[in-house]
Amino acid sequence: MLEVSGLTVRFGGLTALDGLQLRAAAGELLGLIGPNGSGKTTFFNALTGFVPVSGGQVRFDGKDITGAAPRRVAACGIARTFQRLRLLSELSVFDNLMLGLHLDLPHGPWVNLFARRRLAAAVRERAAEARELLAVFSPALAGRLAEPLRALPMIDRRRVEICRALVRAPRLLLLDEPSAGMTPDETAALMDDLHAVKARRPGTAVILIEHDMAVIERVSDRCLVLDYGRRLCEGSFAAVSRDPEVRRAYLGEA
């Protein structure tokens, strides 16, 4: 589904991504790991159009989306979360989820300003769908749809962010360090959440950036290790964690 070949990103003199080669197929969860600064988030940013691409190609479902603007990438069915949780904390949980649905919502003046009864019905429908999606992760959370986002604990905020990415049934889901800042209990809950995502949307491809190896080990089908913007190694978690090159990259000389 996703084919990345020779992707290069340069910032002035610094090469953040150096000819990256990567594939992701429908239904698989690809774990993206590597030491700090190896270019993982830069890859997401390049893919979703937040960072200019200096070379290479990105094909999604056969279409060339190299360097496409974020809006076009979203329209193709690619959704993401952010390393630094980017939610609208002054708004309600429902509002945050509906942002994810933006491309499917009507924005004309007639529908929004005058056909109010129809709008009310549509809102009720979306709210029901949102509750259902949240309940996959936590029934308690589903009941808090109308509350301000800032009232939620960290784990629930992450869940809202993931749901926001899921709400339009994307074909490719990009998760950027969802376990950052979480306690071990919360991380365990997160792992269950990720399993639930796979179960609920079996056709979706997921690329997961993580530092917590336990999470990768439990949920990923395949791993890709990045170092200095290049692919270092690829395979199952077990294989990759035994690779001497990988150990050297993470731990220094053996």
Binding site: T41, N45, F50, V51, F82, R84
Partner: protein, 292 residues
């Protein structure tokens, strides 16, 4: 010459922005207040019997720069620092209102504030003729004074510890704090410095035109801001460059546009808008990318 005045104002803007990501819209009015402070000092000093022009000038400068520096630091302490967490628009608004408050206070409370007031002629009269060119002595002195101040600021930023602190805080406040640089003190110092420069600009302006007017702050502020932006906010040399560019645009406007000097400001501001459309980050920009 105009360029130098603008440059003094623009440098202040750029310093404030660099240090706190803040546009202090009250800056232009601080310029005006500096001029008025000097005027008041003049009145007081000559009333006390001091007549020597150099001495008077020294007193005026000391008073203007000192009082404005204090005011700048006070504004930072009371208006800007407390609003660090708030949306950027709030700071913009609060400084804009502070500028208005200053402007109106002068208009209302300074005796006869709403009329333009003559500024004392303290510089040597006469000019220096050379091959068709006439250079007034006072222009030369003012030019020298302005350039010296800008150069001194540049040196301060590059060579002294305070300058280092200012640049460090402008680049990365968190790291600077970790390295032991006192954030608040540096911010206060920066605002004091910028305001002192503004006061100097006010005095220079007054001496050059032999007159001060309470409303001059708005236009000068807008020009100073435009210059700083054109040159790239955060860069002192950019501010100087931008100021020169603006002064040049004004002169060009007076010449190029029919109906001349009335449209000169329209032309200059229009050109600034166009420039900013072409180069949004400024001519000598230090680009800061947002982390996604």
């Amino acid at each position: 010459m105009l360029g130098v005045i603008y440059a003094l104002v623009a440098t202040g803007f750029t310093l404030f922005f660099g240090v706190m990501d803040v546009i202090k819209f009250s800056h232009g009015d601080v310029v005006m207040l500096g001029a008025f402070t000097a005027l008041a000092t003049y009145a007081a000093a000559s009333g006390a019997g001091i007549t020597h022009p150099a001495l008077l000038l020294a007193f005026m400068l000391a008073a203007a720069l000192g009082v404005m520096a204090l005011l700048g630091a006070l504004m930072a302490r009371v208006l800007v620092l407390p609003l660090r967490g708030a949306p950027a628009i709030n700071v913009l608004l609060i400084t804009l209102m502070a500028g208005t408050a200053i402007r109106e206070s002068v208009r209302l409370f300074y005796p006869q504030g709403s009329n333009p007031k003559p500024f004392p002629r303290l510089l040597p009269e006469g000019a220096f003729e050379a091959g068709g060119f006439t250079l007034r002595y006072d222009s030369l002195i003012l030019l020298g004074l302005g350039l010296a101040a800008i150069a001194a600021t540049g040196l301060l930023l590059e060579r002294t510890r305070l300058g280092l602190a200012i640049r460090a805080v402008a680049q990365d406040p968190e790291t600077a704090a970790v390295m032991g640089i006192p954030f608040r003190a540096t911010v206060l110092a920066t605002f004091a410095l910028g305001s002192a420069l503004a006061a100097l600009a006010g005095v220079v302006n007054g001496l050059y035109y032999s007159e001060v007017n309470f409303g001059v702050g708005l236009l000068l502020g807008a020009i100073g801001f435009s210059s700083a932006v054109v040159g790239g906010l955060g860069s002192v040399w950019g501010a100087v460059l931008g100021a020169m560019v603006f002064a040049a645009l004004q002169t060009a406007g007076a010449l190029v546009v029919p109906g001349g000097s009335a449209y000169r400001d329209v032309f200059a501001f229009g050109a600034v808008i166009a420039l900013m459309t072409w180069r949004p980050a400024g001519l000598l920009a230090e680009r800061s990318a947002e982390r996604v």
